[in-house]
Each structure stands twice: as structure tokens, then as C-alpha cells.
Symmetry: C2
């Protein structure tokens, strides 16, 4: 008998996936280039050429038994050293090898981090709007995800609700800044206030509350935006990082856990990750890919296109009277729909070959997500479609 | 508070790892080339050159956004097609794309397969001697690993004990042939008899009992050895494969789940794997590595050295009066120690710079494992050390 829980999950279709499938199908009719497919968060700029050169150089120069050989279960020591060094330089905190555990992307990082610091039955708080996969990432560990309702005026943190929901079962707070789907970056004020509350509550409850900071969009921050380093404000911070967006390498599944050097259990947590791996079956990411990204820690793909796209969309949507908070990073924007039911709104959008994702699954009904990781030319051409859509609602 | 269960695991040292560390330390004193380090199952022959050429060709010819882009969570469709085709050709069973799920090595494959077909609290039977990591792989899924005692005369299956241990809670039987640590290949007679028993018991219990066939050593079978294809004998067979040993790519963490086309729930199980991935955090292996191995499905590293090494060791150990079953494959041999406590025996061996692993952790006290994935020259030089060790026990 197959396990019923997972079999039943097959009938729960992902909304994002369904819209993406519809967009691709429509794209086959009208030419995909004419389909304004804003459904998926898939990078639209290529990896820097240098990455491929680095891979080739590794293949040409390294002993294949070392290059393709088993790595330590923490990840390759030299790679961890280099990641730590890059974080030290960037964050001004003394990260060392034993603060770093290499993983299969941010999903792999979270699978380890949550299992390391959240006991069975404990609660992990996150803030709407949030990436819906968090439900699976957290709940399958045995902890329970609880979602703090959004502050829909700013998409910063709704502190009133947050303080109400914090309780002795809270063992971690999961944040994602820059945020998918809102594009918002938490301000220094937000991070400070959150840290102060967590410090106070940790003392009150008599146990640590960790911040698990999911940072795949860390490198995509727009001009002039205040983007504080969470680890500088809160010692018990565990970064879950992925190179998917910064280097446009989502298929390579490469990332890391980085526990703040100021966290007293940092090394223990990193060593525990190697034990957690044994039970969930991914002992390490590819050695070739580990070694390659270690040479690319100060590079990114050309991420400037995302800011260009954001400005085009933000300006036009604002002009059309959409309520929309200006993103500080990522390749998402999250306006309020022009009718109460964002699902209906997104259905109407499809008539104009616009594939948009309703906010319900992100914990924010009434809003919709535009993933503008597409060519700028397509964004420009899509503005007319937004105008037609807005016109249905008497906006122009 | 870090999670106590994983923290406590840190103090349980792996015996294999400890011996390996001791061997490397001693190697630093006497030169590693003079240390007969038989502790780890790490391939000693390089990946075929063509693998690196294939990787470079992919980098040179494919659009980077496709090459390094998100793949479907089942794995890249074309890769799954090619894997299915290779299994169809080889096993004469109609494997198709939907029988295949790409994973991070065999550990990743087992993490999915067991979660798909074994309910919480169910039992998974395996046969001693067995790979000790199975305890983690299985028990962390919520199922419970039960070990059938060894038939130490042949290291085939102890059917009397097996039949006693089968019970309505048994939902899977985990086999590993060719076997780590014994090197034994289960004969056609063994596989037939096991399949007949499982078919009968499935009917009696009113639910499927799956065979989970861990096959990383499938390609390392010695001359003239009967190596039956398990899926040809039992419909509910799920293969967990890794390219680690066949292509000498352990660091690349690449493998797959292949459910027999004769299993009625095959496609459901494969789709379920994509749901399981979401909770354990490794959605896919590296896209570059997936695409590369898909071009190497009919290649292996030069595996002939392992048979050469086996024969040298088998002949000399037999001559010295060791009780030893001749391996049919892998790069392991599993003789009986010359005293009751194999731990003591292995300690004495270290005096002669021989790093051997006692059988206790493999569920077979009194035996020891030699992992002869080393250069043949080292095997030859080690024979004198074995002679000296045997002499301590009056053998020469």
C-alpha cells in the first residue's frame, strides 16, 4: 500500500503550477514570446560565462578522483572556508568553516536548519505574504508553520499580530527578505524591532527562538534600498542561502546553511546537520558544483534587468491606480487586485495573455504576484495588456 | 534549544570513520602509500574521460538558462527517458519515463522510496550483513529497520529467520546485491525463493510487500557470477541506484528511483516522490550532472581492477586459512576474523598498518570487511602484512 498522505498530495494542484501550465499552453497557440508569462520565479538572465569556464578548468586541472570523490558530509572544507570568508567580509562577523554547511539549495538548507533547532510539535512563525512551499518545508519536519497575517499597507511585519502569536512553543521565526512574493525588503527598523521582541521573548520563555533567514534574493536589492544584515542584529540567526537567483543556477541546486558566529551553539548545529542529512538522504550537493560556486562568491549574473522591469511595471500600475507597494528587491511585485477575489482577477488577466498568480496561496487574498523575471522587451509589450485589463475595471 | 536527538548522535562515532581517521593519521607518519587503508568504500579508478568531455560539451552547446535552469521535480524528462530506455534494454522490462525519478544518489533514492511505500510504524526487513547507514535511512522515515540474522556460511539469505520475521507490519524488504560488506551476489535461486515467499506473504497479509533493491554495485560483478535482475522476478520492486561506483562519481551525488513497470502503482509512486521531495528538501540533483550521466548510461569506469584485487586477497586469505566466502562483485570481502572479537582482531591488524573494519556494525560480529578499492600494487604489498597478522594466530 502506497503511503496515503503523499498519494493524496497528488490531487492538490499548485496554483502557480496550474497557471504556468496554462501560460505555456496558450503560448503554444500564440507564440510563447507573445504570452506575458509572469507565473514562475525562474531567473531570466544567464549565469556569468565565467562559471562555465571555472567548471571546465576544474575538469581540466583536478584529479578526477578528488574532483568527483566523496566530500565530507559538511561539504568540501575549502569551499566552506571560502563561503565563510565571503560572509565575514560582507557582514563583518567572524564566520568560520564550522559555521557553514553546504546544501542542495535553500530548500535543502531549510530542511536541515529547521530539523536542527525545532523540536517535534514546536511552532515556526512566518509572515504573510510568504512562499507557500514553506508549508511543506516546515510541516514535514514535525514542527508546525503558523502564519502571521500581513501588514498589507507596507508588507513589513504586522507586529501586533506577531506579538500575539509568539508563545512558549515558538522555536523559530522564518523570514524571507527580500521577500517572495511582495518584493519588499525588511527595513533596519523592522529587523531591530523583531530582534528586540525575540530577545525579550527568548528570555521570557527560557529557550532560544532562532531566526531562520531564507535569503535566496539577498543579491537582488534595488538602488538606494535599506537592506540590513539580519545576523548583525540577532545572534541566533541561521541563514539559508541558495545561488539559484544570484548566479542564475536554479537547476544546480546549490546553497548553504550559515549559522551566525555569535550563536553559542553554532558549531553544534552545523555538526548536527551532518546527522540530519543521513536521515533525509542528501548527504551533499555535487562536488563539482560546490567547487565551482566557491570561485564565484563575489560574482552575480547581470541582475540589473530586474530593477528595470520593476520600475516599468511599478510606474504603469501606479498610473493605472493599482494599490502597490514598491519592491526593494527580488523579481516580484505584489499589487492589490482590482476586485476582491484575486482569482477572478487573474482569470480575467488571462484573456489579455497575462499570466498572474493570485495571492491566496501566499497567505494574502486579494493581491496578485507578477514574477517579472522576463525580458524587458516583454515587460514593455505587456503594459498594453495591463491597460486593457484595468479598463475592464474602469481604470485607464 | 537544539534538537537533542541529533545532538546526541554526534557522540556516536562511526566505527568505519574512526578507523579511516586512524589510517590517515598513521599514513601521515609512514607515508599514506605505505598504509594499507582498507577502511572506506571509495572508488579507486577515475571516471571515464568521456564524462568530463560530455560536461564540457554541455557547457559549450546548451543555452545556459536551460542547462542550469530548474528541472521538473521528477528530474529532466529527457534524462528519465534515457534511463528508462537503458533499463528496458538491459532488463527486458518496459521501463518508461514515469518509472524513473532522479535523485541525489542511492541515499536520496531510498529516502524517497521508503517514504512512498512504508507507513509510519511499519517494518522494513533487511539481511545481515548490511550497510549500517540503513538504520538512519529507514528509521528516520518513521518505519523501523529489522535485521534478519546472516547465513554466515554463504551470505545468501537466512530463509528460516526471514520467514519467522515476516509479519503483517512488514511493508518492504531492503536488499543490497552485490552486497556491502560481504561482496556476495544473491543467486537466482535466492531471488526466486525470496520472491515466492514475498508473493505468498503479500497475499496472506492483504497488502503489498515491496522489495527495495539498493543497487549501487550492480555494475561490479565478477567473471561468471550469476547476477539475476531482481525486477524480473518480483513485480513490486523499486530499484535505488547510484552512479557513484559504476562511474566513480560519488561526490556528484547522482542516482535514481526506478519502479518496475510491472508494479501496478509504479506511476503513482514516482509522482509521490515529487511530493516527498518537498518535505525533505532536495527537489532534484544538479541539472548539469543529470544531463551528463544521461550520456554515460552504457559506460563504466574501468572496474576490472576490483576483480584483480579480490582474487589476490581471496587466494592469500584462503591460503592462510581464513574462512572466507568468495565475493561475486563489489570491492569488498568479508572474512571471518581469527579470533572471536573482530574488534580486537582489527586492532592487532593496525600494528601491521592494515586498516580493516570489524563486522559488528554490519550486523555480523566476528567478521571483518576489507574495502579493496585501492591500487593493485598496494594490495600486493599488503599481503605480507596479512601474513604477519595471521602468524600471530599461528597461521602461515
Amino acid at each position: 500500500m502506497v503511503v496515503e498522505k503523499f498519494r493524496q498530495m497528488l490531487s492538490n494542484k499548485s496554483v502557480i503550477r496550474e497557471i504556468s501550465v496554462a501560460a505555456v499552453a496558450r503560448g503554444k497557440e500564440i507564440g510563447y514570446d507573445n504570452m506575458f508569462d509572469y507565473s514562475l520565479g525562474n531567473p531570466s538572465v544567464p549565469v556569468p560565462d565565467r562559471f562555465n569556464e571555472v567548471v571546465k578548468q576544474l575538469l581540466d586541472t583536478m584529479d578526477p578522483l578528488t574532483l568527483h570523490g566523496y566530500s565530507e558530509s559538511h561539504g568540501i572544507a575549502e569551499v566552506r572556508d571560502k563561503v565563510a570568508e565571503s560572509l565575514e567580509k560582507r557582514f563583518g562577523l567572524p564566520y568560520k568553516r564550522d559555521n557553514i554547511f553546504m546544501t542542495s539549495g535553500a530548500a535543502g538548507a531549510m530542511a536541515h536548519a529547521v530539523r536542527a533547532v525545532c523540536n517535534i510539535g514546536s511552532e515556526v512563525l512566518t509572515f504573510a505574504p510568504y512562499f507557500p512551499e514553506y508549508n511543506h518545508y516546515i510541516n514535514e519536519t514535525g514542527a508546525v508553520l503558523k502564519v502571521v497575517p500581513a501588514d498589507t499597507t507596507s508588507f513589513q511585519i504586522n507586529f501586533e499580530e506577531f506579538e500575539k502569536m509568539l508563545n512558549p512553543k515558538t522555536e523559530a521565526v522564518l523570514i524571507n527578505t527580500p521577500n517572495n512574493p511582495s518584493g519588499i525588503v525588511y527595513s533596519t527598523e523592522t529587523i531591530k524591532k523583531m530582534s528586540d521582541i525575540l530577545t525579550k521573548k527568548s528570555e521570557e520563555f527560557g529557550h532560544e527562538i532562532y531566526i531562520i533567514s531564507d535569503e535566496p534574493y539577498r543579491e537582488i536589492v534595488f538602488t538606494g534600498v535599506d537592506a540590513p544584515v539580519v545576523s548583525q542584529f540577532y545572534d541566533n540567526t541561521i541563514i539559508c542561502y541558495s545561488f539559484s537567483k544570484s548566479l542564475s543556477l536554479p537547476g544546480e541546486r546549490i546553497g548553504y546553511v550559515a549559522v551566525s558566529p555569535n550563536c553559542k551553539d553554532a558549531e553544534t548545529i552545523i555538526h548536527m546537520c551532518t546527522q540530519i542529512s543521513r536521515g533525509i538522504g542528501h548527504n551533499c550537493p555535487s562536488s563539482l558544483i560546490q567547487l565551482a560556486v566557491a570561485e564565484m562568491l563575489y560574482d552575480t549574473a547581470d541582475l540589473s534587468v530586474y530593477e528595470t522591469n520593476m520600475n516599468l511595471l511599478y510606474d504603469e500600475l501606479t498610473r493605472l491606480g493599482f494599490e502597490v507597494v514598491k519592491p526593494g528587491g527580488t523579481f516580484y511585485i505584489f499589487p492589490k487586485a482590482l476586485e476582491e477575489d484575486a482569482n477572478e482577477f487573474c482569470k480575467k488577466a488571462l484573456k489579455y495573455d497575462l499570466a498572474l498568480v493570485p495571492g491566496d496561496s501566499f497567505g494574502c487574498p486579494g493581491f496578485f504576484r507578477i514574477a517579472y523575471c522576463v525580458k524587458t522587451d516583454k515587460v514593455e509589450r505587456s503594459l498594453e495588456a495591463f491597460r486593457k485589463l484595468a479598463k475592464e475595471y474602469g481604470r485607464q
